[in-house]
Symmetry: C2
Subunit: 477 residues, 2 copies
């Protein structure tokens, strides 16, 4: 028994050191590993399978809204990156530069894409001629590179995987509609699939994307009370179109600039899943995203009929993503391993269970055990997976709500930020000087101006001038 506990004991308790707990889970659940290049990840099978499920679920939803996938080059010539002023200022300090191709120095440096607005714009300028060519609703799945100084697996790495959607529309209204549509799609995905509740809102000018007119965001709260920006959707207006000369002939033959959007979600969501749902036994995966939903663990598998029964149950459960752990490890070790990897339901089956025509189901999220008749197994497992999915969302929502505070004066605000990790709702005058001061005083940033505004007071929490917006504030990853 002591030996079986080893795997669990190998991870730090989350209350002792959350950052270390996170790193331990990433490693022990075999999600990713460090690579030879500082700040780059090796995403291992257990981690990549989660990403494949994220891709599959998002891509299906994208295509239902008319998105088409494309692939743009990895490299951006320096002159192209420089075409939109705000954009280059935002990204140039953190890109990787290619200076040699083969044995020859390049005539012009190429940066490895940190994001692909400039490439899409360059392409759209050539490809869009008439209103008939609009809208363009393109997306690509790829990796991008940002030369970060401090890195953490999934959350902040020099290379990460993502999707980036880039659209061009005839009108400002249509672009705004697409921006919000994709934010809502991300919201539904996070809540329905990842069981992560989010706050939807708009970024302040200080926090918006380099080159955007408006950036919308979904913000989620991790178990330690820190915020995580979980997906963003940008409305560029016609700023990029003017910088790149993307014009179309309208029906009345007049030449018009297009209106553009972009929106992205990344492998950092794997970090979010870990930090929202995980516990001291390791990863806890929501059933809809779990690569393996059910792990069948045979007990006394050397006894005749046990393994056969385990494999027979795998057939019974073939409507789910199911595996049998028939390795030569002890059942206790298998339990721990299945928990560490976050598999939502464990099915235990031993000689006595077989005799009684029963099996034991164990929930990963609550550790609750249920004995069910073998005849009802598939139905019960299906119900249980649905229940777990719902319960995980509810639990996360309760945790988020319990860690969302509000403040009407600056002292209270600072005290909450310092003592109670979570979101703080407070009023803001709209002036960046106040945002800067709050960040300096507390290390908290404005996470978003939520769509669901409340009137907490009528004054800015910081300067006392008339408030314009309620803002969610918090320390963030």
């Amino acid at each position: 028994m002591a030996k079986d506990k080893k795997l669990v004991e190998s991870i730090t308790s989350m209350d002792v050191d959350f950052a270390q707990w996170y790193t331990d889970v990433v490693k022990k659940a075999e999600l990713c590993d460090y690579a030879s290049v500082k700040g780059c990840m090796v995403i291992k099978p257990a981690g990549y399978a989660i990403w494949e499920n994220i891709q599959h679920e998002l891509d299906r939803r994208f295509k239902e809204t008319g998105v088409e996938n494309v692939y743009m080059p990895l490299f951006i010539p320096e002159s192209l990156l420089e075409k939109e002023k705000d954009h280059v200022e935002g990204f140039a300090p953190e890109v990787a530069w290619v200076t040699h191709g083969g044995l020859e120095p390049l005539q012009e440096r190429l940066c490895v894409r940190p994001t692909s607005e400039t490439l899409f714009c360059d392409f759209y300028a050539k490809d869009i001629h008439s209103y008939r060519d609009l809208p363009k609703v393109y997306n690509q799945w790829c990796s991008v590179v940002r030369w970060e100084k401090t890195t953490r697996p999934f959350l902040r790495s020099r290379e990460f995987l993502w999707q980036e959607g880039h659209t061009a529309h005839a009108t400002a209204e249509e672009a705004e509609e697409r921006t919000i549509q994709m934010l809502n799609l991300y919201t539904d995905f996070c809540e329905e699939v990842l069981a992560i509740p989010v706050i939807r809102g708009q970024k302040t000018d200080k926090e918006k994307f380099a080159g955007a007119e408006a950036t919308y965001t979904i913000e989620s709260l991790m178990h330690d009370g820190k915020a995580l920006q979980s997906g963003t959707s940008h409305n560029f207006g016609d700023g990029f179109a003017k910088a790149f000369g993307i014009q179309y002939a309208a029906k009345d033959n007049s030449l018009q600039y297009v209106h553009q959007t972009s929106w992205g979600m990344t492998t950092r969501m794997i970090g979010a899943i870990i930090m929202v749902h995980g516990d001291d036994n390791g990863l806890v995966l929501p059933p809809r995203i779990a690569p393996t939903q059910v792990m069948i663990v045979p007990i006394q598998q050397q006894k005749e009929g046990v393994l056969d029964k385990a494999f027979a149950l795998r057939e019974v459960l073939s409507g789910f993503r199911v595996k049998v752990d028939d390795s030569d490890k002890s059942p206790g070790w298998k339990f721990s391993e299945s928990e560490m990897r976050g598999i939502p339901v464990r099915v235990e089956i031993g000689p006595r269970d077989i005799e009684n025509n029963e099996a034991v189901l164990v929930r990963r999220d609550t550790h609750e055990k249920l004995t069910v008749s073998m005849d009802e197994l598939a139905a019960k497992v299906g119900e249980l997976l649905d229940t777990i999915q719902q319960d995980m969302l509810e639990k996360a929502r309760k945790h988020r709500d319990a860690h969302t505070y509000q403040a009407a004066d600056y002292d209270t605000f600072v005290k909450i930020i310092n003592e109670k990790p979570g979101f703080v709702k407070a009023m803001w005058c709209g002036d960046q000087a106040c945002e800067d001061k709050i960040k300096e005083d507390t290390a908290a940033t404005s996470r978003c101006m939520p769509f669901a505004q409340e009137q907490i007071s009528d004054k800015c929490i910081c300067c006392g001038k008339p408030a314009k917006k309620m803002v969610y504030w918090g320390r963030a990853y």
Copy 2:
């Protein structure tokens, strides 16, 4: 009518100029476009959708054989690339080098991966300890960069998309088995899905992969009689394992080196589809890989009931990948466009057809027309797609066989290579000097030593010494 022909007339006839025909089809079928960076592609929706289907079909087959997907970093430190001598010699002259991260010069140059053997080896050296950790059967989907001097869309570009499988095994036998297994998987995929027949065989030492003990290949023949290497599978033996120190404790506790393989298939297969099946009306897609299998074209769509019927038929055909072209273009233009894009079956439906409870099916591959009863439409379309798939493979096989020659003496060999584009089967002594001379004299290379050996003569075609192998020779892309 003249106007409707415009689209077709905009592409060069393949008999006049095959290279120009290829470029025209790539452009007019909207598969890809040139990017600002020389030699890099923008893969457009119609091209990327083919790649998605290739990915889907290959990935499913991979996973059935136990492959797990992972993601390795984009960058390889120079010192890591240099660890295996043959490998670095093969790749260093054609890699892109990153020398700056953000505003700082890097301490060590990083190359953008041209292939990822070194990264997988570096990872395996850390991750493999015991026989229990074997086999590792990993694959990744990504882009790679090779700084080619002359480039052509899909066939040879500075960046291309591919999958690269990298495996580690306990024994040499197991590694060889996996190498051949993946070559066979590629063979089945090419023939069953892409309708492209291939020759399976082994590369000569001159043509094998940098660092491999043995490279196996599948070679296909394009419509113009040039060969295309379509997929390769390499057995590395324990060469990389020794260079990188990848050892495991065997059951008897002895320390052993692993045996490794790698295998890949790329976006160049989109080029192969174009060049094997295309005709003077554009692309011809095998049904199993076609993003749209059926295009419904309403005739006189302004007449009451026609568009409704077209959309009703889309429902009837919902078991296939089907679209309705309800744009305001003329039917003739729609026909040409659907042909240009290679859609396997066109369904024409007009007022008279509706009256007769019929629809007209038009095959893309043969232009044959069939009138079928509306009641049997789904069944007939299903049969027709199967027939087209089979016929396309047969047609390609016949073309390949009709352009496969054999030669027993050097004069005949040179004459065939110069006058009759295709494969030439001829005997070889095994000496690289003969390969070099043949290439110099004819620009033909040894494509492979086929598994199915024949005895054409007993002497090397080039030097007259005793022959060791029959080789497929040809000019290649």
